[in-house]
Subunit: 302 residues, 2 copies
């Protein structure tokens, strides 16, 4: 029973931006520990060319492992049709396509304009088997871009609406940590007005410390699915300055202390950090709640 | 022109908990730099026995300096009648009394029960000259206590109501970083229902990373005055585990990016960190916005 879905994206968004490689066996242990803590959706990797992002070279094997974990929806990122075909072959339950609302970021990231990328996702969706995986269109740089600066809200709404025509769900991502709570409320409301419940997820970075405040703002707007990354790993290698996903431990603590059930066992979640640290000992880890511990007399949401 | 008042408490809450002493001259430079950045309320020190907190021994001299800065409301903390008399003599414009809602914290901190402390503040208020300083009653550990655990909301409301009888304004403080946004909304609403506009300030710590989310929640409830500390210095030496005030730089960035005018110049604020670091070079400093910088094309609220 849960009131909010936390999708752990550390094995993808975190590791693809880490300075060191986590061995495949360690990834599997970490993902197993996350599942044991109650994570029900885990983005385990990305089907990008291994030459571009060596950390994601073992994604097919990691997907195969994650599929053995009962009750876990296994998510993988695909940047194009080729990645989509590999993700389908690997057996991902859900495939997420980032579609940047910033033309400059899109061209730098996937060498396609936002409109071309929408068409690429449309082709993937059209090629899909009726029993194939769920498809998510994630509007990235939806709140600003380190290359372009401001991203017009009209562009975000238009791309989200286009994706909603053929994606099972749409997410909005603050890829570079530019979002503020007022903007989050405004943009989520505008997109919700346009595509209704097809709008599902929110993906925030903590670059300027506003990650949890933005999550709260999205929650207030009815968002019930959030990406986050254990220990705040993450960023985007093609968007300079985009550091640190929202920290899963702090996000879960926030919701649970508010009485919002995440379905995640906080003690087990904090314990799972050890498997991350074992697998990537050189990488800095973040998190306020892990450092401070749970409050005296803390009770999880019930 | 501003929509929200940020009270910088670093020179008091930050320095009293720092591991090293900032020389008096450096304090003055830092406070001047804060004023130059647009801070209009600064809590510059605490009139506690110098033996207990050596970092506050020079508070009278620091108050005298701060009084020379045009347009700055100079705030000092007093824990009792003796401290109040010293604060009045020094010329503080506003004197804040912490009244802990946690019996255990109160007894450990000031060797008085919460009720005895309310009476102490009442005596101070009664002894006040009609042209004397403003008096604030700050309900501390209002959202939980590291010693006692849960602090009943009824206790918070009762103490706030008692203080409102003779204080110019009342604040609620999450002294140890236990608060969550749902609780913040609930408790501020309850206290507002009881004492109306006499309820003014919110003081949050970032111990579990929820500082800005709690500030946003309080803002939503109509709170328009917030304490914060440059570089996230701070805590409470008598409440173990109470680390880090909300970071001024990130709080100002949040509000300004939301279109809420703080009256503070963010560039000058970020530059003012240098005076803090010069004065206390051994102390760790925090802040996401200072590390990441302002977003490309960022515009302050206008």
């Amino acid at each position: 029973m849960s009131d909010v879905l936390i999708c752990e994206v550390g094995p993808r968004d975190g590791l693809q931006n880490a300075k060191h490689l986590m061995p495949t066996a360690a990834k599997k242990r970490w993902i197993s520990a996350l599942a044991a803590a109650g994570l029900r959706e885990i983005e385990v990797g990305s089907f990008v060319p291994a030459k571009l992002i060596p950390a994601m070279a073992d994604t097919a094997e990691v997907v195969a492992h994650a599929r053995t974990l009962s009750g876990v929806k296994v998510v993988a990122l695909a940047p194009n049709l080729k990645g989509f075909e590999r993700a389908v072959a690997a057996g991902a339950h859900k495939i997420t396509f980032p579609v940047s609302a910033s033309r400059r970021h899109s061209e730098s990231n996937v060498r396609m304009s936002p409109g071309q990328m929408v068409e690429e996702v449309r082709r993937c969706a059209a090629s899909r088997d009726p029993h194939g995986p769920e498809i998510e269109g994630a509007v990235s740089t939806a709140f600003g871009c380190t290359m372009q600066g401001e991203v017009p809200e009209d562009d975000v709404v238009r791309i989200a609406a286009a994706l909603a025509e053929f994606c099972d769900c749409v997410a909005l991502a603050d890829t570079v940590g530019y979002a503020n709570p007022a903007q989050v409320r405004r943009v989520f409301r505008r997109v919700r007005d346009e595509i209704g419940d097809r709008l599902e997820g929110a993906h925030f970075h903590n670059t300027r410390g506003l990650g949890l405040a933005n999550a709260l703002a999205a929650w207030d707007e009815g968002v019930r699915a959030f990406d986050s990354s254990m220990a705040g790993l993450g960023g985007c290698p093609f968007a300079p300055g985009a550091s640190g996903n929202v920290i899963t431990e702090d996000l879960v603590f926030m919701f649970e202390s508010m009485g919002v059930r995440t379905g995640i066992d906080l003690e087990k979640l904090l314990a799972a950090r050890a498997t991350l640290i074992d697998g990537l000992p050189q990488e800095p880890v973040y998190g306020h709640t892990p450092l401070a511990g749970l409050p005296k007399g803390f009770r999880a949401a019930a």
